[in-house]
Amino acid sequence: MKLTRQRTWVHRNEMVESLILEDGGKIRFYSHTYMVSTKGRAWTPYVKWDNWERQPHVDRFDGSGVMVEQKPCNEKTLEEVLKLVKIFRKNLLSMDISQL
C-alpha cells in the first residue's frame, strides 16, 4: 500500500491538495481538494472531488469552509482536476461542477 499526498500550487494563494491510496497498482482512494488562503490565513476548501466509500462525488463549499452541496460525478484523476482548477479557479464556486 502506498499513500501519496501531493500539494500543487496553482497560484500564490491557491492550491490543490491531493491524497491518493494505491494498492496493487490500483487507486483505492482519492481526494483532490481545491483550497484558497486569504491574507495568509488558514487554507479554506472550495471544491473537493473524492471517492469516499467508493462513491465518486464532488463537494462544493461556500468560501468560508462550510459544505453547501454534494453531488455524484465521474471519477477524477489529479490531472483532470488540475486542468479544471487552472481554467476556472474561484469561478468553480458558482458552477455546476458535477457536469464538468
Binding site: M1, K2, L3, R5, W9, E17, T33, M35, W52, M67
Partner: protein, 146 residues
Amino acid sequence: MKIRISKRWKPGDISDLVTSFGRKYGTLQSLQQKVSISKCDSPEQMSDFIVWKHLSQGAEFQDIIIISDTEIFETLSPKRVEMLEYLMSNDVTSIRHLSTSLKRNYKNVYDDLVALSKYGLVDLTPSGRSLKPAAAASRIEISFDV
C-alpha cells in the same frame, strides 16, 4: 518551470505523526465515526483518517509539493536555500537552536522560516513553548518543461 519537492517519510516520522493524530482525535474509531457522520464536510478530518488508518496498517507514505509559480524565487533567497539544506540533513529542537547552528540572527531566521512555511517547504511544529522547525522535503528538483 516546475519545482518538485518530495519527502519519503521515515518510520520515526510516521510514528510521530500517528502519535499526533492520537493527541488530536483520541482513537481511530472516534475519528472514523466523526467522518462518517459529517459525510465528508471536513476534508482535513477525512484525509487525517485515511492517512492514520493506512499508516497503522504499514502503508508507505510520500509527500510531494509541486510549485510552478515563478514567484517562488522571491522566497528562495540564497540564505533561505542554505537554511533549507541544513534542515534537510540536520535535526534541530527549536528556532533558537537553528539560529545558533547557522550563526544567524534569531529574528531573521524566524522570518525566513515563516516565508518558507507559506509554500509548505518547512513545518513548524509546537514543541513545549517553542516551535520546532523541520524540512518538509527530502528532495527538491527544478525542471523546465519544453
